[in-house]
């Protein structure tokens, strides 16, 4: 087993990356299942989303994940030639590198998006990939991609009802 058991063993700081994983139900999700039944350890930083095919992972979903504060996105599909739908992963294989180039140009570290292939029998590979990816993200540190909203001006901030004020102005009940 090559996966890292966790941050305490590595002696790293408290930062735990949040990883969103899109797992193809026919291979990677089953591979993750196999990793579980084989009792392999892999970091719990991965939040798995089961998708019917890696070709289903629209670039907008990946963008959304980073916008919502993910530190990394892992897309796992079937090896080329093994797609349940014949060529769904061909599209992923072409699109994700282009999306990575775009996100990198817009200021995201390209290492935060990763595409790889895991078949249903590769539980060990799944655990190793997740471990490697988590380690890489720990070294990168928190993601700064998400833009925080500017604070509302004071005129728009709710300060509560001043004491003594009529709670229902205009006589409404």
């Amino acid at each position: 087993m090559t996966a890292s058991p966790g941050p305490s063993a590595a002696g790293l700081a408290a930062f735990e990356p949040k990883i969103l994983g899109f797992l193809c139900t026919w291979c990677s999700y089953t591979g993750a299942d196999l990793a579980g039944t084989a009792r392999l350890h892999y970091p719990s930083n991965l939040r798995a989303v089961r998708v019917p095919c890696s070709g289903r992972v629209a670039p907008e979903l990946i963008l959304r994940a980073f916008d919502q504060g993910a530190d990394g996105v892992l897309v796992l599909g079937c090896h080329i030639g093994e797609c349940h739908y014949d060529n769904g992963n061909h599209r992923t294989a072409k699109r994700v590198p282009v999306l990575k180039a775009l996100l990198s140009f817009a200021g995201l570290e390209p290492e935060r998006l990763r595409l790889d292939w895991v078949s249903a029998s590769e539980g060990e590979r799944f655990a190793r990939l997740v471990g490697e990816f988590t380690e890489a993200l720990r070294l990168l540190g928190p993601c700064t991609w998400r833009a925080s909203a500017p604070p509302l001006p004071a005129s728009l901030t709710w300060v509560g009802i001043p004491p003594g004020a009529d709670p229902a102005p205009g006589g409404a009940v």
Partner: protein
Amino acid sequence: MSHTASIRAKARELLESGDVTCVIGYEVGPRGWTRPAFIENPEEVGRLVWNQACTHNLTTYLPGRLRPGKNKEPAKPVAVVVKACDSRAIQVLLAENQFTRDQVFVIGVVCPGILSGAERQAIPEDGPQDGAPLQARCRRCPERVPVVSDTLIGELVAPPTAIAEEDELSRLSGLNPEQRLAYWLEQFDRCLRCYACRQACPMCNCPTCLFERDDSLWLGMGTGLNEKRAFHLGRAYHLAGRCVGCDECERVCPMNIPISHLNRMLAKEVEAAFGYRAGLAPVPGPLVTVIDRGEGRP
């Protein structure tokens, strides 16, 4: 015969013979600005002009104009005046089955380059504008002759020798991720989500835009910085392998967001990865096809 006279003669011939129902070209409006014109009557061909302010990409109007009717009968053919960059857009639209080749009569014009900001000035018809600056896209453009045309107006010319360098693009690529993030957030912060870029784009022809749906679970219509960035990056991504580099999106942007940098970067990326340039032939782009034997695998 000047370009203007040639275009008028061709338009009159097409409309009188009934080959097309409409000629989409350029006219000079009452304030002297050059603008798109839709000529459906042979008596009105005198409105058509050609000058170095004809910046608009008129192929934008084709998908809507040539969409099949309610009982699926094909739309009547139209003619359109195109420059070299616009003609590439026709090839992409043909590859995407937006219309058939016989539905559009292409009046290609050999383009001397379009002047910067010229559509907002009175330009003398066919007058040479020596010394006036060309638009950035025209300084970069290696082509002058449309790649597809049914009739070609103007003499064939050699492509320009001096091509401007991609200064800004290489500067941005040289920055580190934090600097690039800050740069783009500053640019996208100005966006109003007016969708002018989308409306001007010939490739943005979805009947319902993904970014303008109010029932979407994962794309917002909001004007927060994250949503605005998702819109621009998503739109740039949808144009990857399709954008022909007419840079109309950037020209129409009221907030001067350098959208074309994203499109050009992706065009370079697609060319490097797949050896494909959009619009040179009516074939589908590499991002919508399966992996070919000759293509590399990740």
